[in-house]
Symmetry: C2
Subunit: 136 residues, 2 copies
DNA sequence: CTAACATATTCGTCAATGCGTATAAATAAG
DNA sequence: CTTATTTATACGCATTGACGAATATGTTAG
């Protein structure tokens, strides 16, 4: 009965982390569930580009999505593989120390403080912390 | 005077880890400096392929090479960036727990025990542990 | 010098990836 | 229903990467 523990594809896992836009997205998610519109606004990248990278991360099992009306919220989920989970946690901690990543988070905070000032964020749902940010 | 701490390219670092052959190479290096001929023999892959992946890892600053006559020895070097070093160490530990990686290391041990049995390894220099395996 | 050996690089091909543009799909509002 | 809004996907194109085969480079032996 015990399901065959699928041989985790380490290379695919690292490939998912091997893109700056995806790292920026993970950095912005951190411990919160966040609406796509914020990601587009903060990163100042085209919406299809953001969406494609989110889909890539979703296929890699690193993030999960939840629909809320028109809005989609993304959050980080820890991979079932223990090694992958550790590396991912470590990577998220690493992101926190990176200058550019800190700047991204600052921009997110600013956008969250007054979403009204950002044309694209009128009435958008605020990011919300996730209970156990790093577990699936 | 203080050199500008080059903004570490995290995405390139992860890209270097995003290939199974390269992960297998890193796994075989582990704490030792190892001759290319063993890598080719153990992984049963074409020599140019191995050489190309080693060059990739070298450009990424993850391994270093030392020439010893006809032979080239490769070893892992820890990246200067602290976050990268932690992730790399973690990844090496992760590799140790992987089935397929363990099999590779077993094959390496066997080849080291009697290099004479492998046609390609006549007189090849044995791998040798590195003092401080994980520092540059 | 030449020959043999170990390793690196080049070349041509193919698949994968990233991008912008355009369009589709899903939902909400009127 | 139609329209607007939010997100996802399809398309075409350029770049990158991985591969095998062939070739080049570097070293040692004779």
């Amino acid at each position: 009965m015990a399901g065959k523990s699928s041989p985790f594809q380490m290379d695919l896992f690292f490939q998912a982390l091997g893109d700056n836009t995806r790292l920026r997205l993970l950095n912005l998610m951190g411990n919160r569930e966040i609406c796509v519109c914020y990601l587009v606004e903060v990163l100042e990248q085209g919406q299809p580009k953001i969406s494609r990278h989110l889909a890539y991360l979703r296929r890699a099992g690193i993030v999960a999505a939840r629909r809320d009306g028109k809005w989609m919220h993304y959050r980080i989920v820890m991979p079932p593989n223990a090694g992958a989970a550790q590396v991912l946690s470590q990577t998220l901690a690493w992101l926190k120390e990176d200058r550019a990543m800190q700047a991204d988070r600052a921009r997110l905070s600013k956008a969250c403080c007054n979403p009204a000032k950002f044309v694209a964020l009128q009435g958008a749902p605020l990011p919300v912390p996730v209970d156990r940010p790093l577990e699936s």
